[in-house]
């Protein structure tokens, strides 16, 4: 750990005594090999594609910190990306993302299950076999009934409000099941069956090829019914992973220690290297960054990047910069071009917007190339399955816009001197406000006048931009949006955004109201395809969306994250856009 020299003052006795007092604390022994690697062996962005400081060194404490709080540490009650990354330390789902950097990390591999789900011929039943011999921290064996119960309890949203909603929608009869807290029958939900202690089957209402991704969420991690205390379970989660709860002070600090019952064969993706893992919550964001760089904290849990002050420090210092990464954060910021609001209902008018937009200004609005993101030309993000690079509207080759082509498109649209339309954005998001203003000024260059309408983000989708009737009546032809996929393929990324079948009267996320039969058919076709053939479809969907000019991509979001030199086995897990928390070790012995 590098630290600046101590201040050379003759400190007053009391201060000295207090400083000495602070030197106390736990120490942990350390064994293993590999070492942490010297500072000279690391470089900027190394953690995006490679494992930095590979090591099997054990011992020490890894301290995480978060500037806010988790939605819940209960694996059945969270939708935060960093919590889904973190909770695999103590809760093992049926399947999980492979622990490796780059696109390798997009793969799904078995977790608690012996293999990925086996789907029946009709695509309606998914079967998982559990590894035998897996126990909770107290030695109680894990059974398929525990997994069934874990999934069932998430149906009661009055108790567990935060998690994803896939099971009630996908499972047969799921929408009517109230969850085990209200349903006291022994059988529970009939569409989840457990033929034996180590087999679980999910019976779907209709085929869903991405079901493995659904069970990769932490809500498939087993929960013993006898230990479930509903809303209080977050305080004492029963562990099946390498670590277990030692103490949890709500919204202040969680301490995990090694799970003595854990065997490496249970979960080949996680490591049990550090003796202890501590996470401090509600830490001032700037204080967090400074403590991170000073070595008092090893990981910024949220993984969304350092604040502006720390960013400036890191980018100005080679020694700090070499210990940081600038990965894709998994978000696409973009602008919907509504295909039903005139004159944008005409393809050529939408194409004119694509050409006229100044992408560099939009990038600046989101924070520039490092903190904001990379200029985007597609709706799929580069590290997602099915992504193929293309650029129909010169977003990357002529980022300031091609006004000649924009004017030509306007002429073809029948609006040679431009037109006027409304633009919706979230007024409580400064970056979106700036992006809206940037687009307004760049489109004005070709005579397209934007009337800006700001709305609160809380009900942006439920009451305003996500309500087609409202969009039409207020002439909102252009609407800002953003999307992060629940899993890294075209279905996870694009289904809700551009599939014509997902258009709804409120809470609509296909704000472009794109209902292109070509795209809709591609989604239908994808349901009956697998492997490379299926992945190729996502690329076709992406291409067709851009051809329809229904979306103006702004940036593939990026973040600047600091990689503590104390950490071992550090790399960015693409699914989460942050370091893979279940692989980390430390060379620090304090």
């Amino acid at each position: 750990m590098k630290r600046p020299a101590k201040f050379g003052l003759t400190a007053v006795a009391a201060a000295a005594a207090l400083t000495i007092a602070a030197c106390g604390g736990s120490s942990g022994g350390g064994t293993g090999s590999g070492g942490g690697g010297s500072a000279s062996s690391v470089s900027f962005n190394q953690g995006v594609t490679k494992v930095v400081h590979p090591s099997s060194t054990t011992g020490g404490t890894i301290t995480f910190a978060d500037s806010s709080t988790p939605d819940s540490f209960d694996p059945g009650n969270t939708y935060y990306a960093w919590v889904l990354n973190f909770n695999r330390l103590y809760a093992t789902p049926l399947v999980m993302f492979k622990s490796c950097p780059g696109t390798c990390g997009d793969q799904i591999v078995p977790g608690l299950a012996t293999s990925l789900g086996q789907v029946s011929d009709n695509g309606l039943t998914w079967t998982y076999h559990l590894k035998q011999g897996v126990t909770y921290q107290d030695g109680t064996p894990v059974t398929s009934a525990d997994v069934k119960y874990a999934v069932e309890r998430t149906f009661d949203r009055s108790v567990l409000a935060n998690g994803p909603s896939y099971y009630p929608v996908l499972l047969k009869g799921g929408s009517k099941y109230p969850g085990p807290y209200k349903d006291k029958s022994k059988a529970g939900l009939s569409s989840i069956t457990t033929p034996d202690k180590y087999t679980i089957q999910f019976h779907l209402a209709s085929p869903y090829p991405d079901f493995n991704y659904v069970v990769a969420f932490s809500n498939s991690a087993p929960v013993p019914q006898a230990k479930d205390t509903g809303t209080n379970y977050q305080l004492h989660v029963q562990s099946t992973g390498p670590y277990m709860f030692q103490s949890y002070q709500l919204n202040k600090q969680l301490t995990l220690v090694k799970n003595p019952k854990y065997k490496a064969s249970w979960d080949t993706q996680a490591k049990q290297l550090a003796n202890k893992i501590v996470i401090d919550l509600n830490v001032n964001a700037n204080d967090l960054d400074n403590r991170l760089m000073a070595g008092d904290i090893q990981v910024d849990a949220a993984g969304t990047g350092v604040q502006a002050a720390a960013r400036a420090k890191i980018l100005a210092s080679n020694s700090l910069k070499q210990d940081s990464d600038n990965p894709l954060a998994g978000f696409l910021w973009f602008i919907y071009l509504n295909t039903k609001v005139a004159p944008l209902s005409n393809l050529n008018c939408r194409v004119a917007v694509e050409y006229a937009a100044n992408k560099t200004e939009l990038q600046t609005a989101y924070g520039g190339p490092v903190a904001g993101g990379q200029i985007a030309s597609t709706t799929l993000i580069p590290d997602q399955i099915g992504y193929k690079k293309f650029d129909l509207y010169e977003a990357t080759t002529q980022p300031s816009g091609d006004l000649t082509k924009a004017k030509a498109a306007l002429k073809a649209c029948g609006q040679p001197s431009g037109f006027t339309t409304g633009m919706a954005y979230r007024s409580d998001r400064p970056k979106e406000v700036q992006a809206a203003q940037a687009l307004q000024s760049s489109l004005a260059r070709v005579g397209i006048k934007l009337q800006l309408h700001g709305y609160p983000s809380g009900n942006y989708y439920s009451d305003f931009a996500g309500v087609p009737k409202y969009v039409h009546s207020h002439d909102l032809g252009i609407d800002i949006g953003g999307w992060a996929a629940d899993w890294p393929n075209g279905n996870g990324m694009l289904d809700e955004l551009v599939n014509g079948n997902t258009i709804v009267s409120a809470g609509n996320t296909n704000i472009s109201e794109l209902n292109d039969p070509v795209i809709n058919n591609l989604f239908t076709k994808a349901n009956s395809e697998n492997g490379d053939a299926r992945n190729a479809i996502w690329s076709q969907v992406d291409h067709q969306v851009m051809k329809d000019a229904a979306i103006l991509p702004e940036v593939y979001a990026k973040s600047l994250i600091y990689r503590s030199p104390d950490l071992t086995n550090v790399y960015v897990q693409p699914q989460y856009g942050m370091y893979n928390y279940i692989a980390l070790g430390t060379t620090s012995k304090s």
Binding site: K6, F7, A22, V159, L250, N290, M293
Partner: protein
Amino acid sequence: MIAFIIRRLFTTIFLLLVVSLVTFAIFFLLPRLAGQNAYQLATQYVGRNPTRAAILQIEQKLGLNAPVYLQYGRFLKALVLGTHYNSGSSVTYCPPPCFGYSFRSQQPVWPQMTTALPVTLSLAVGASILWLVGGVTIGVISALRRGTFFDRFSMAVALAGVSLPIFFTGLIALELFSYKWALFPNVQYVNLTSNPLLWARNLVLPWITLAFLYAALYARLTRAGMLETMGEDYIRTARAKGLRERTVVVKHGLRAALTPITTIFGIDLGLLIGGAIITEVTFSLHGLGLFTYQAIQNQDFPEIQGVVLLASFFIVIANLAVDVLYAVIDPRVRY
């Protein structure tokens, strides 16, 4: 005196009732008047992309679909009589004073506040001792040495102290003494009972930062009060009687000058115990201030209501204590 205290306690209860009503109205009534319905309110407390059914379940669980007056009535009832809460697997009793359950974490609010209270008390009491001793001493010396270099210098520092906001001085203190020179590294609250020295070490910077602001204010107030008092006839009489200068200054001058200081000290201390928001947020101390900040960010009504009432309670009690102290400090005051 006892009748006075009883009267004031009754006033306190009435005041707290009004405060709770106003807070409730701000949180629930104003959004309704602005056109927001219970369903929209409930969407704030469900995760990403919730189904309609999930939002309706939360709306019902939090009681947001009931008339506003009924929601307020339920809140008051729980405060006085306690309430039962369904945690899913079981029904638990929340004893009075039950400030309800957090809309976000679904955990009772009262235990969270009581665990935050020692942090705020540690901060407020330590800082108040520093600023009271430091501020009053500097103020007295400045008044007695009016026009000297010490007077001018200390008043200039005091002016800076009053002018500089805590989030600025706090960040400077952290940057220099915690990150750069590492004299006080890794500042975070440690329980007094588990490690008293570390407790004190980690609070030194917050204490000094907070005290710097208040000491400056108190130094200027004390100086002004002392200058006025030392010019009074009875001070001249005391000196004419041949009393020692120390007795004149401390017993006759300072005692009279302290009355307004005591008033303001009571209010300041009460306010701080209710939550030193900026200081706690700057230094990441998990006291009532940080709790309040988080509650506001999360729009978590039970937490906001709880902390507002607790803060009001401390302010009222501190004022009561000040009024009682008047009688001790100033012999002319009788109740």
